[in-house]
Every structure is written in C-alpha cells, then in structure tokens.
Amino acid sequence: MTSSDETNRQGAALEIVGLSKSFGGLRAVNDLTFDVAPNSIFGLLGPNGAGKTTVLNLVSGLMPSNSGTVQVFGDHVEGLPAHRVAGAGIARTYQNVRLFPGLTVLETVVTGFYRQRSARLWQTVLCLPSERRERREVEEKARALLDRVGVTAPPDRLAESLSYGEQRRVEIARALATEPRVMLLDEPTAGMNDVESDALGQLLVTLRDEGLSLVLIEHNIKLVLNFCSHAVVMNFGELITKGTPRECVENEEVQAAYFGKQSDAERVQSVLGVRRDPRAD
C-alpha cells in the first residue's frame, strides 16, 4: 500500500507484471503478466504443477516473489506481509480447505471479521457494552454470510465435521467476511457434484454483480466456460495464452499442455494399434 497513482485506480482490479518465483533450480512462476478487470470472474488455468497455486501464494503474500509487481486497484502489495495484503483487500481460499480445528461453523466465519472489528483487549475484559454489541452484530453478519453461501448445517456444529463441499462453502464465507475487493479461489468446486458446482457458479456471479472481482483456479472446464469472462493458461510456470475461456480451450498449445502433443498422441495410438474411428470425423 505504497503510492497509488490515479491512472491505475480506474484500471485493473488486479494487475500482475513480470511475476517470477524459483524454488532452487525450478522456475515455478516465470515472468507472468496479466490483469483482471474489476467486476469480473477470471480463470487461472493450467495442468497440475503449472504453478497456479504458487501464483496465489505470491499474490496473497504467503511467500515472497523473486521479482515482479502486484497491484490491487493501483495499490502495490508485492513484498507486504500476508496480513497487510489482506488489509489491501485480497482474500483467498485454499485448495485443500484450511479451516481452524476446534471452531464451530459460526466461530470460523466470525474469525474472518477480525479486521472489521475494533474491540480492544481491555474492552473485552471489562465487558463494555460496545464490545457486546459488536460481538452480536458480527455474529448476525456471519449468519447472513453462511446463508448466502448456502451452508445449511447448524452454526454451532464443529466446522471440521461438515461434508467436504460444505467446508468449502464455510471457507468462502470466512474469506468474504474480510470484505475483500479481490477474491482468489483455489479449486472451489473440487469434491462437489455438478449441481453443487453450478450453485457455486451462480453464487460467484452474484458476488461479481455486487462489485467483487474473482480469480478462479479451476479444473471444471464447464464451470470456466459458463462463468468466467476471461482466462489465462499457464504451463511450467509460464503463460501460454490469454483470452476468453473458449479461445483458451480451443488453443492448440493449451490442448497440447493438457493432453500432450497431437503427434505424441498419434505415436502412442500407433504403438498400441488403436485406430481412430473414421465415423467420428
């Protein structure tokens, strides 16, 4: 949150320029540049190991990048510790849901309101009415959030005892509680069935319409095609292509990254003695 130039403020919700990260000799993210328009759902695609999650870790400040800049509505956040990045308006969820063991569903979401609350330690200890009021208000807001993301389990259940799909929704509610401007979702529909993922897609659309910008790592191609307006595809830490989701999916290089090169596929088929069915063409 250093200087904020007015020209950029109107521009991108999230602007990444020349972002790089190496682990030893491995270039996990290499000179990545893209930007996410405000009020949009943006897909970050690529096969396993392409470096997508590393990008989210770099953006959210969980690990330092080697070079490059990250701006949120014009505010530089690269090099800031994670809690300051969160303060700049970035929230995220995790690929393998990371809820806090021992907390109930409601407590989990209330934890996300940390920055919105102002109660000091001594105010809490002295039972000041302001603290009690704040606690009530925050719990009310948390219940409303749980309702929005479609968690039906009782709020006093342990969050870790919910089904996987529901844990993901609790995690999204917790992230929304920080009142972010940009939200990063790491495979939000993993472990969900078609109906559930579609409901999640609809939720993302409502959130977008309310002014949130969303970045989505997703393997569910249907979801990406239906709900994302733009996407980038990564492979081996580098950007292969960007555009609308359909353009990305139809790109030959992208198909090669996911399924191997066509010449490779043909060679494998010839070795196996499998011929393509002519009627299929």
């Binding site: 994670a82 809690h83 995220r92 806090f100 063991p101 330690l121 809490t124 996987y164 920080t178």
Partner: protein
Amino acid sequence: MIAFLDIFSDYRATFTFGLIYGLFALATYASLATGVLSMAAATFGAFGGFSYARLQADHDIGLLGGLVAGLLAGAAIAWILSFVLLRLSSHYVAMATIALVLITRVFVVNLPSLTGGPNGTGLVRQSTLWWVLGVTAVCLFVFWRLANSRYGLAATAVREDPQAASTLGVSVRHIQRVSLVLSGAIGGVAGVLMADQLQFIGPNTFYIDLAFTMLAAVVLGGAYHWFGAIVGAIVFRFLPEILSDYIDDGHEIANGILLVIIMIYLPRGIVDPRRRKQREHGLGSKRKSAKADAALAHDQAEAVTS
C-alpha cells in the same frame, strides 16, 4: 460437614499452592493458546517475586501494591523478550525459554544486592487463601472473557494455522506478542503470591522444576481450554499429597504414570472443548473423511450423467 472442614484445613496449604501453580500454568497456557510453547512463565515469576521481595523489604509495600508491581514487572519483561523470542520458529522458542530459565537462576545467584544471592530472601506473609482464590478468580474471568472474543478467535486461528490466519488480516506476530505479555503479567502475579506464601525465595524457587510442572499441568488439564490449566495444576498438587500417605517417595512415579495415561487416553487433556462440542451433536468420532465425501460426490455426478 465437620469431617469435610477437617480435610479442608488439612489440605489448605496444598490447595493454596495448587492455585498458585494453576496461575503459572495459566501463564503458560496464555502463550500456548497462540502456538508459542514457552516456559518463560518461571522467569516472569522470578521477576514478579523478587521485585515484590525487594519492595517489601525496602518500602514496606502491601500485598495489593506487590501484585500490581509483579504484574507490571512480568508484563514488561515479557514485552521486551517477545522481540527476541518471536523471531524464532516454534521448537526453538521452547529451547530458548528453557535457556532463559537457566540464565535467570545465574542472575539470581550473582546479584546478591537485589535477590539475596544464593542465600535467597525472606518475606513477611501478607496473603491468605482468600487472596489467592480472588486473584485466580480474576485471572479466570479474564480468560473467560477473552475466549471467543476478537482476540480469542484470532489466537485460535494463529495457533491452528498461522498462514490461513494471516490471509484473514490477522498479524501473527502481534497476536503472539499480546499473548506473551499476558503470560508475563499472570506469571509476575503468580510469582508474587508464590514468594508471599513461601515466605522465602531463592535461586531454586523459579527454576526448571516449576517450568516443567506447569507445562505438565497444562498438558494434563488440557491445552485447548483455559480451565484445563487450573485443573491440571490442582491434580498435580493434590495427587502426591494424597499418595504420600500410602507410598512414601513414590509420588514422583505416580505423577509420571498419570501423565502417560492421560497422554494415551486423553491426548487433548482432561478439559477439552472439542469433545464437548462433538458430544452436543452426537458425533462420537470424526465424521466422514474428505476423501469419502469426494468419492461420494463423484459417484453422484456419474449417476446424474449416465
């Protein structure tokens, strides 16, 4: 009733010291609640105890003044130490605090003008069991208020997953520093009461024995709830007292066996909030694993498409 009062007067001292150990355990719990495994509460106790002894000898300070002085001394030294300790990662914090307790003893021995050196310092007892009970009640009230507060939830988040906590905007360093200062304040107060009740403190009063006992009390009582520390400390204080009637010097062994049994059958300690929450919803064991759920969702998806 008479019999009960007899027992009470028999064990009055044991109960008093049980509560004081409970306060030390509570000081250890305060920092453990944010994932900082620290035995520095013994050092905080030494600062509180020796400050009080000095003030009593030179200025005739009353107990209440002594408690305030102990609280401030403990909190101040904890705040200063936090800048060093919190630079270290988890296991090294524990080792550094053990070293700290050892160093504290060296200082106590070598500063005779302040501490009485190897001969220690005598004090006039001003506190009663009711004072100790009152102080314990105040400390427990503080923890009761903090649980589930803005700070309490942030502390749990930091203990369970510091990274996830930080992406919610919680400064891990700040929360851990607050918890250490809290630990220092309670440790300092416990040190004052300890000094006052013992009427004598020396280099070995706030030493490794105390550090390990309070840590064991937290493990025994339950490291996930503030009440566990007090329960653990009282059990650890009473058990050897009761057993010494039957087996003379065997109580140390009994303590060890008790700890092992608790670790095996109640790894989260006697007081465990999670067990209670699960019981409320009739969940004896952990529900379906994430994998099973994913498989179920996959099956459903296939059933829909085919």
